[in-house]
């Protein structure tokens, strides 16, 4: 499968995605503006609480081409963060430490972040600074090439927290979303991580799984799904993990394309809007996170990054990073934000309410 960008698909233009999200409904009228919705509960303009997490997207290259990918990642994407930009990220983190607003957690994502040639160097530098590093590992990368087979050991040596997607404990549902054979390889990779100590009691090596629905429906309650995943993965494959993060698919990029193509767009948006939860709105992740793009641009979150919505009210590039101004900014919102506030809420760390 090719990325939308490679297909020259209309949705590779973020402007067109935003047009779809803001368009009138077939029956007339529009979905209430997300900003107005926040206003009704006194949350507009939405302001950060305090910057705690740096989510760094080190590139869009990936060994997979999942159907729902909001990054539109894939083997044909060449955007990769340079060492120079990584250096600027490190300098920004040092600056924040000095300014008295230390950013403790660095969440590395992609694409497959491990495919960036400077990935290991970056993790080592972060580790030296005493930062807590999270890697969003797609699991199959560990088996994709012999040069990645030692990733579990590398992660372990640097105290990396591993967060991995597994949309279901059945091969059918997983492969439908992530590609043929992905389930089997993911299971093997999880067993390798377990063997390195990940997800094992007392090891301190955190292994979390991410569940997101393989289709146009909302995720169920995190506690029940976690229980279910733990039982099934233990029983069928003897796999252990720490927590399950339940994430709602946001209507952007390839998932938006899926929704439109399958005729589910209206129904899905309606569900998101109708499930708006004020408690989840108060805890959206953009309030304590900054997202850094592969080219060093700054965004309120990874989703805004994919929609080319850069931060407003603070310098827009990591080289000019200013934590005080970022903490004062108004967060850029649009209709896709309903995905973060539906039901029990959704963030890169799972449910929020």
């Amino acid at each position: 499968m090719k990325s939308l960008k490679r297909q020259e698909h209309k949705f590779s233009d973020s402007f067109i995605q935003l047009e779809v999200l803001q368009a009138a409904r077939p029956g007339g009228g529009k979905f209430e503006r997300f900003e107005d919705k926040l206003d009704t509960i006194g949350l507009f303009p939405l302001r950060p609480t305090q910057l705690e997490i740096f989510q760094v997207n080190v590139g869009k290259m990936c060994n997979q081409t999942c159907k729902h990918c909001h990054v539109d990642a894939g083997p044909d994407r060449k955007e990769i963060m340079t060492r120079e930009t990584m250096q600027q990220c490190l300098e920004a983190l040092d600056k924040a430490d000095v300014a008295g607003f230390p950013v403790k957690t660095i969440d590395l994502t992609g694409g497959a972040p491990e495919m960036n040639p400077h990935f290991r160097w970056f993790v080592q530098e972060l580790h030296k600074r005493g930062k807590h590093v999270i890697v969003r590992c797609n699991l199959t990368i560990i088996l994709a090439n012999p040069k990645y087979h030692d990733l579990p050991q590398f992660f372990k040596a640097h105290g990396v927290e591993v967060v991995s997607s597994l949309p279901h404990f059945s091969a059918r549902r997983t492969d439908a979303q992530r590609g043929d054979g992905v389930f089997e390889k993911s299971i093997k990779a999880l067993q390798m991580l377990n063997a390195a100590g990940y997800g094992q009691e007392g090891s301190g090596l955190q292994l979390h799984l991410v569940y997101n629905p393989a289709g146009a429906f909302l995720p169920g309650a995190q506690v029940s799904l976690e229980k279910e995943f733990k039982q099934q993965l233990k029983r069928q494959f003897n796999i252990d993990f720490n927590s399950l993060f339940v994430i709602t698919n946001l209507p952007i990029s390839r998932f938006l394309d899926y929704l439109v193509q399958s005729g589910n767009y209206e129904g899905y948006m309606e569900k998101l809007v109708n499930s708006f939860n004020p408690a989840a709105a108060a805890n959206v992740m953009c309030r304590n996170t900054i997202s850094v793009g592969w080219d060093g641009q700054l965004y309120d979150c990874d989703f805004n990054q994919m929609l080319d919505l850069t931060v407003v009210g603070a310098p827009r590039h990591i080289k000019d990073f200013d934590v005080a101004q970022l903490n004062q900014r108004d967060i850029v919102l649009n209709q896709h934000c309903y995905g973060c506030t539906a039901g029990a809420g959704s963030s890169c760390g799972g449910q929020t309410a």
Binding site: H168, S170, R172, Y211, L218, G220, S224, L225, E228
Partner: protein, 111 residues
């Protein structure tokens, strides 16, 4: 009346039954809500039972609702189909087991 007995849009109007009898509706929905809470059975198991019953009573609203609900609760396609087979087996078995009654009667009145 509409031209069809079943309209998918009516599913979302289930709550409207309160219009003609609010007290009973409230009792029913409170009960309904409690039944589907996590208990000795998990919410997923309850959802699968509901799906099986929906097929036994052949209610299109319930099939629609509990297919989505099953997916949301993490049920797999295999689990959902097995639940329906359970309903089918019980339905089929319920007919067949009465065959014993038929046989009893036959034996009673034949030489």
């Amino acid at each position: 009346m509409e031209n069809t007995y079943y309209n998918p849009a009516d599913l979302a109007k289930f709550g409207n039954i309160a219009e003609f009898s609010p007290d009973l509706a409230k009792k029913f929905f409170d009960y309904y809500g409690d039944v589907f809470k996590e208990g000795e059975l998990s919410v997923r198991e309850k959802s699968l039972i509901a799906l099986a019953v929906a097929h036994a009573i052949q209610c299109p609203y319930c099939i629609d609702a509990y297919t989505t609900d099953g997916l949301e609760k993490g049920a797999s396609e295999g689990q959902m189909m097995e639940a329906i087979h359970v309903a089918a087996a019980i339905r089929g078995g319920a007919s067949l087991v009465h065959g014993v009654q038929m046989m009893n009667k036959v034996k009673e009145i034949t030489m």
